[in-house]
Symmetry: C2
Amino acid sequence: MMKESKTDLAYRVMRERIDSGTYMPGYRLVIAPIAQELGISAVPIREAIRRLEAEGLITFERNVGAQVALVKETEYLHAMQTLALVEGFATALASPEVTAEQIARARRINDTMRQTLDDFDPQRFTQLNLDFHSVLFESCPNPHVLELVHRGWNRMRVLRNSSFTFVPGRAHESVEEHERLLALIESGSAAELVEQSAREHRLATLRAVLARNAEHHEGEALTA
Amino acid sequence: MMKESKTDLAYRVMRERIDSGTYMPGYRLVIAPIAQELGISAVPIREAIRRLEAEGLITFERNVGAQVALVKETEYLHAMQTLALVEGFATALASPEVTAEQIARARRINDTMRQTLDDFDPQRFTQLNLDFHSVLFESCPNPHVLELVHRGWNRMRVLRNSSFTFVPGRAHESVEEHERLLALIESGSAAELVEQSAREHRLATLRAVLARNAEHHEGEALTA
DNA sequence: GAATATCAAATCATATACAATCGTGAGTAT
DNA sequence: ATACTCACGATTGTATATGATTTGATATTC
């Protein structure tokens, strides 16, 4: 087994900290202290930062440095819209290839989601949601599209500790939509229908979050 | 005016050489000689390589190095399929915002394309095609989607000097489809219709290339 | 003769040292 | 008070040197 490179180590550590919220959006990633803490030099840190930048988790400015990406409402809208697009397509591409076993597995996950609706844990629900869709994506033959899906998920991860958290009231509908989506795939529906349905599923979540935030800040109107 | 950083210089030079075909697909990008030639050290070269990798123009393997991306037929299919997806969506998003001036500009470009059909130059036609769609994308409000479009174009650029060149016979249809697309946008058609139409436009090109290559190699069958 | 071990050259990976650049705040003129 | 300049500290950018890994050729064993 090959030892993990320093660059990969730096990437992994920073990535974990962004995911866990240790580095909140806006946090400045200063190279020198991180290098000292990890006991490695600055160069691998720089390369890891480039990588995180390419994935959109952080922003980088020349001679100024890197910071965990800040996400404004329009940014969030655009990211989710894009995610809806690629998830919808990935689901449609996978649809004809999905096996009965995968359907069953996805349905089990969705049942678990339904059970957790009583005492709701956003973190856990989000993870189960990822698992659910991951099962469907297993059969997607186009790795490019899957890569874009993962990019989108990364982008969302940064927001877990921001104001764009999941809307509890939305969870019920989400579970029902999952069920309908499975039925659609099971019955061998046309790709366009599956794509449309999966896309709409994500867009509905987007609209729920935006509506909640609009109430909360009672500020700017927005066109979904 | 800020001086260009060494990393940017290295990126620009390598990028140009990949685009122009000086570095063909499969060409190994060895750091040391490039550094010596440009009169800079290895570190900026490495970072530029990371960036090119993130954009998908080159592949990189640990302790082995980088080479200009090789694209097999299935790879090409997936990349084009993805491009069709994001271009279609970008066009649909832009559609309601497109101005009469932009329509006129796009139509002029398309007219130029029609004129070049007589003595056909793939390189020039491809460029005009990019210009045409770029005009429509000017109004696209979602920068994420636009970024994905550009990623897709980068991916295609590598192929200019491979076996996946444009099919001359396809050019005529392409010009006509452009005209129909403009009419659709002008008449304020529904987003779904525009998206479907723009996506299909790209997929038709994909099918033409695949069909040509299938004849040429008369080898493997493929499911478009 | 085929498979495997050995070694050297090429290349990548990282550490260290120093140069270039940027942001900030004190000081000064208006 | 405001705007401007400048110098300093913090931080990034790059060069050089050295260590680590891969690869391919050659030798060796069975």
